[in-house]
Symmetry: C2
Subunit: 120 residues, 2 copies
């Protein structure tokens, strides 16, 4: 018996409830370039889900895990297991209810800056 992973196949990950999402936390999560990049990539493909390894990040796997966890714990993304892969999706529905228009404005701002700096 494994110590922690209770049942088999479906390990659940802790997500904050929608009402527990805080603006400060979201802004802090998005103030890191790596995490902002992840969110932009997620938003670019609509409601698609992507595994962690799908992203080409300039950090090691350990650090990736850390960033994905920060995004999940602040309520920006939702993570679910699918086999050995972990699928990531934006919590756009919840964020739009809490802060209407904010996510779109942030993504637009990020896109604009990327275009301006040629760092796309």
């Amino acid at each position: 018996m494994t110590p922690a992973a209770t049942a088999a196949g479906t390990r659940d990950l802790p997500h904050p409830a929608r009402d527990d999402i805080r603006l400060e936390g979201v802004l802090h999560a998005l103030s890191d370039p790596v995490r902002l990049r992840i969110v932009r990539d997620l938003a670019a493909d609509g409601d698609e889900l992507f595994s962690c390894s799908h992203f080409d990040l300039p950090v090691t796997k350990s650090t990736s895990t850390h960033h994905f966890r920060v995004l999940r714990e602040t309520g920006v993304i939702r993570q679910t297991y699918r086999g050995t892969a972990k699928m990531n999706g934006l919590r756009k529905d919840d964020l739009d209810v809490l802060f209407p228009g904010l996510l779109d404005a942030l993504l637009a701002a990020a896109a604009r800056q990327a275009a301006r700096l040629g760092t796309d």
Copy 2:
């Protein structure tokens, strides 16, 4: 002669040029509750300028200075001396050019959360 403060009366403060303002920096600046509160208060009164001591912040004056400096160095506010007081104003014009709609969305999100949590 004082070592640093060149001329008399008008000490200039270093502000980033508009094109040097970074979205990550702005988000980081606004991810602190004290600084978010400052920005909200500044935005509430339109184009008014306020001295640092005008704000009733839950921190000491040293920490206030620190927060105002962070806001200035990230390009969120503009600071100018007026006598012994330092007047603070939002750089709404520059931010609106760089990131149209972002500031309003952020302020709306902050107001919405404050109303929801009763922390106004």
